[in-house]
Structures are given as structure tokens and as C-alpha cells.
Assembly symmetry: C2
């Protein structure tokens, strides 16, 4: 069965949720991040999660690859759409926005050391990062307006991925219920799904 490497609190939750939503038998391997002796380096030289190892021993990395790959294993589950369709492009568009903007926007807030060598400057880097993150959250809230999920009424791999970062807002010191009610409601719908609950339970257990 496919093996998915995840880390607690990491973006690998997105791929994990997809496995649970699809109901595909799988094994979850929890690894620490940014530790040179982490077992993740044996399967992925970049040391990152999610990393998927297929039944044939193929190693697939990056949410942008794993989410579509898993969804295409079971198209009848309706988490994605046929290749060449505009609907599939809409789902990829969300994955792209999360991948290129939303996830990176947390970096300056959570890891200012990546952007400045001097600890005294970390508060300024964090504040600047927070401004960018908030602009992006406003744009995302507007894009979700009137919709249950990213592309409409149907939960797709885009939501499995986007929901992870809506769940990160408290960690960035953002009170979604107060500042982004649309995102807070979306996050509540996400966390109410049995697949999300199941994935989070596995990841939070030692």
C-alpha cells in the first residue's frame, strides 16, 4: 500500500486528508522536519513532506504532484476533474495560489530568520510578512464568497490543501472569526469533515 511521509503541523496534512477522503488503504509515516538525522532524508533528499512512496517504490514529492496523482487514482470519488477540463484548471488554479503564495506567505511570519540574519529585525520582518499575508487572506476570502468550497459545492483536492493553511491562522496570531469570518466559516466546514478529523487524530498521536 502507498506510504505517505508527514510531519505534525506541516502542509503534508493536505495529502493525508486526500488519502482519507478517497478511502485508499495507506500507511502514514510521521517524521521530524529540519533535523539532519530525520528518516525523511532517506526517501527525499530535500528532506520535505509530504513525500509519497507508491506500491512500485516510486517516490513522489510536492503537494502539487501528490494531490493530483492521488485524486486521479480514484476519479469516481470526485475530488478532481477530467484532464483538459476547465474545472480541473480551476482546481489547479487554487492549488497553484496556495502553493506559490499562501504557503510562502507564512514563512516570513513563522520563520523570519529565513529573511534576515539579525534577530533584532525579526519583529519588523514578521510585521511586514503579516501585512502581505493579510492582503492575501482578504483576496482568498473574496474568491470564496458565496461558495461552500473552493470551486463551488463540491469538496476537491484544492480544499484538502487550502484548509490546511486556514487552520494555520491562529499560529500566525490571526483571529479569523473576528477578521475573516468567511475564512473562519470555511475552516469550520473543513475541520468538521470526518477525513480531516481522522487525519488530524493520526498526526497528533505520538
Amino acid at each position: 500500500m502507498p506510504k505517505l511521509y508527514v510531519a505534525k503541523g506541516a502542509c503534508s496534512l493536505g495529502a493525508h486528508v486526500v488519502l482519507k477522503e478517497l478511502g485508499i488503504a495507506h500507511e502514514i509515516v510521521k517524521v521530524p522536519l529540519r533535523q539532519p538525522d530525520s528518516p525523511i532524508f532517506k526517501v527525499n533528499p530535500l528532506g520535505r513532506v509530504p513525500t509519497l512512496v507508491t506500491d512500485d517504490g516510486e517516490v513522489i514529492t510536492e503537494n502539487a504532484a501528490i494531490l493530483p496523482y492521488l485524486a486521479d487514482l480514484k476519479p469516481e470519488a470526485g475530488l478532481f476533474a477530467p484532464a483538459g477540463s476547465v474545472e480541473r484548471a480551476r482546481i489547479q488554479e487554487w492549488i497553484g495560489l496556495v502553493n506559490s503564495d499562501l504557503h510562502p506567505a507564512f514563512r516570513a511570519v513563522n520563520r523570519p530568520n529565513l529573511f534576515h540574519p539579525d534577530e533584532a529585525q525579526f519583529p519588523a520582518v514578521r510585521a511586514q510578512g503579516l501585512t502581505r499575508l493579510r492582503d492575501l487572506l482578504s483576496a482568498i476570502q473574496r474568491k470564496l464568497e458565496g461558495k461552500t468550497w473552493a470551486i463551488g459545492e463540491r469538496f476537491t483536492v484544492a480544499d484538502a490543501y487550502l484548509g490546511v493553511f486556514i487552520g494555520w491562522l491562529p499560529r500566525a496570531g490571526i483571529d479569523a472569526a473576528k477578521d475573516y469570518p468567511g475564512l473562519a466559516a470555511y475552516g469550520d466546514r473543513y475541520h468538521a469533515r470526518s477525513a480531516v478529523k481522522a487525519a488530524l487524530t493520526v498526526e497528533s498521536t505520538d
Copy 2:
């Protein structure tokens, strides 16, 4: 015919190259970025390129969506691979890495103001960004070792996208020929393709 909005020197070159590689009839609309009155805001509220408008008037944004969508219009061109295949996942993996890491890594180098409000700190932000960018370039060079293109002998949408950023190295003050000969050779192969030459010619003409 589909209409692609691009900006000179932007990552939209990737989607433009794919259109030229596929030989699909198309219209290119050149727009300025980060100017409130740019016509791009009329089609994409985020004001970003690439933005594709299909024959049916559907607006598709994000390279992560446009590259797969275009390639799936003409699968026989071999720029992508069938949905559900490991090869497609490999191509998506590259798109993900470029989208989530390589492109964002240029931001701190080229636009330090996004990460710190004080101009006096820009050199430190740039230097830190450059260190991260260089680490990533080393990893990418290792991933390309022994290969002509990202996944092997065949040019795919992953290359149309990756090549754009290899072309950005001089802009970040990086001498690829000296520091990353593998990437420099890859960049030479990229820029030797007639589709890349054709796209760059269109984008550089006023």
C-alpha cells in the same frame, strides 16, 4: 482563439512558451504589472500574469493551472503525460517545486521591500535571500544531473516553466556559467529552442 496576458520579464513566459511549443493559434496581450490602471485587473482581480482567456471566455490564472490545461489540449505533442501516471506526477513535482520555492526565492532578492519596511535593511534581506536561492539552485542542479530536461530526454511543461527562472539568474547577480555549470547548460538548451526564441521576441518587442 485563446488569449494569454503576459508581462515582459515575468513568469508568464512559461505559459507563452507552451503555446508556441504546441503550435496552438493564440493572441498575446502584453500588460504592465503592479500598476493600478493596468488592463490585467479587468480580467484578473489579483492583477497577475499569466492569465488565460479561453475561446469560451473562461479566465484561467496561475501557471500551475495554465500549463497543464494547455498541454492537455494537445496531448499528442508530448509536453505532459496521461492523468494518473507517475510520469505526470514527476512533471507536476517540478512545477510544484518551481512554483512554491524557486519563484518565491527570487522575491527576497528582487523585492526586499516585501520583507522589510526599512530600506537600510534591504541589503541584508537580499543577502539572506541570495543564500536561500543558491541552496535551492544547488539542489535543482543535482536533480537535473545526467538529464537533458527535467524528467529526462523529453521537453515538458515543467521545462517551459523552469527555464524561465534559469533565465532570471543574471538578474539576481548570479553567474550560472561559473557557479552552476549544469544550470547554465540547461539554460542554453532552453534558449536555443525555437519556441522560446519566438516567445521572447514577441515579449521584447514594443
